[in-house]
Amino acid sequence: MSKINHIEGRAVPVEGNDIDTDRIIPARYLKEITFTNMGKYPFYDERFDSAGKPKGHSFDMPQYQGAHILFVNQNFGCGSSREHAPQSLMRWGIQAIVGESFAEIFAGNCTMLGIPTCTVSKEQAHELQGKVKGNPKTQFVVDLDKKAIFCEGKELMKFDIHESKRNALINGTWDSTSLLLANAGKTAEVAKRLPYVSGF
């Protein structure tokens, strides 16, 4: 599995607190039994009216096409545990998300897909969103080794990320199955010790 040390590219802002995963991907798209098409649907109902006409969401603005970094605010990804939400963002092109805070399950799902969820202060999140709106061509680097965001070669700000999530990403162990499988013997021991597993 690949090591993820930094993500480079242009950014796209999505503003607002408490943007839930129903808003990121409406439930009707969860009826598909693969994730293949999810890249078509992020923020679908916020982007298109009933006739399918774009409403001017940042994901449809020409200046943000090809962006890899998403700038958000507080409690992004709250609500449903649907992995379809980060899947849809990833398949649209997002490789890293920077915001004020993230819902627990959403952040865990992102890590499993190799997407870092980096937290900054409210002022910094607004600064990032302002910067990209001012000049959408700005190139950013989200550097997981240095825990900092760079812009035109200069360090713009530090960010926080859960240390275990950072370790998983930079060491290429974010897809955890193989780590967990390697402990199959120890798992069996724990199972044996737990009274309910053997039926008391």
Binding site: G16, N17, D18, D20, D22, R23, P26, A27, R28, L30, K31, E32, I33, T34, F35, D45, S50, Q74, N75, C78, G79, S80, S81, R82, E83, S101, A103, E104, I105, G108, N109, M112, L113, K122, H162, E163, S164, K165, A168, N171, T173, D175, S176, T177, L179, L180, L181, N183, A184, K186, T187, V190, A191, R193, L194, P195, Y196, V197, G199, F200
Partner: protein, 468 residues
Amino acid sequence: MAKGTLYNKVWDSHTVDKLPTGQNQLFIGLHLIHEVTSPQAFDMLAEKGLKVAYPQRTFATVDHIVPTKSQARPFQDNEAEQMMGAIEKNVSRFGVTFFNFESGNQGIVHIIGPEMGLTQPGMTIACGDSHTSTHGAFGTLAFGIGTTQVRDVLATQCLAMDALKVRRVNVNGKLKPGVTAKDVTLYIIQKLGVKGGIGYAYEYGGDVFDAMTMEERMTVCNMAIEGGARVGYVNPDQTTFDYLKGRQYAPAADKWEKALAYWKSVASDKDAQYDDVVNFNGADIEPIVTWGITPDQSVGVNDSLPDPAKAHEDERKSYELAYKHMDLKPGAPIKGTKIDVAFIGSCTNGRISDLREAAKVAKGRKVSKTVKAFVVPGSQAVKIQAEKEGLDKVFQDAGFEWRQAGCSMCLAMNPDKLKGSEISASSSNRNFIGRQGSKDGRTMLMSPAMVAAAAIEGKITDVREVLK
């Protein structure tokens, strides 16, 4: 750091190893799956050439996409039929027990687990659904997970997890008559906010939880996640043990004492330490109704809608968006808000006690002509019990539709959806924009009895006045 809590004990006893990432490898005692978040997980398993490591510890059912009118196969919705076909194929290929329609045990995953006695104190539980926190009512650590994590549990019976902090949420004193578990959980979310629980497990305790039935505790824990807490739990006690006794998967008579000893041992110690403690007074809680687009945007039924100018600056924009979406006015009383649809059901409030409470309100009354009202039992077993008690008749006589078991209009993945900008009184758990199947649809969350009262009056009503 928390010490001596149920969270600490269960976390420690289920820890397999410290992973090189710094996460804990946690053994998962019970894995529940449903049709929506599992097909990709099984595909990933097959791609890697892996088997289900502990097939006897995973149980499957169908709930999210199932129609609640006719469940005849093939379903009219091709995608739903395909999804149903996928879970049927996967459970048979990988050897997982499946509670399908014919089993008599089908239903919402968080209703059937407890109902069959699968959910027991001191377990770790995972399910690809955020409302897995429901099972915490039994003194379990129950985690909602994503699909890639479902794959991990299938392949290894483990998850790579970061530890949470523990917040004790005390509600002491006595609830007023007419105030329900739903009101308690909505009140806690209103006070602590939808982000208040990020990074925490909530341990609910105090007089009010001690006095609650298991079904009431499930309603509270169900919505822990709506307050940002991935895990919520109540320590197991005699109420828990009495509920479990005699259930299909509960320990048999000769194992009962051993089970009891384990269950009692996992409860938080008297001198347990918490990372945070908050205290509420049960007598302060009124029947609660949400007015906005997040579950913390709520008021007491006799209150007026809040002024965005007085909201915390972080909340102001969200308030403005909420007022625009809901087409409601600050300062207006919430009572009297007209509704179009009334939905009683979901993993929050689709249990027999919920239907009984709603039926008390419906009995001898008529649903308003302007309201489409329906009741969706949370499981086949709930439906059968309700019919035995004649609740189906009570509801139908009043003008409610009586449906088959499923998630239904809680998330509208089946044909039960709001249309256009319809407004619903709903006993479910989320009032998010678009949640009930129409992007312009509007949801007001409340207890099942309050939904029944709103159905009858055609508008938001204090159920206590209807029952006078």
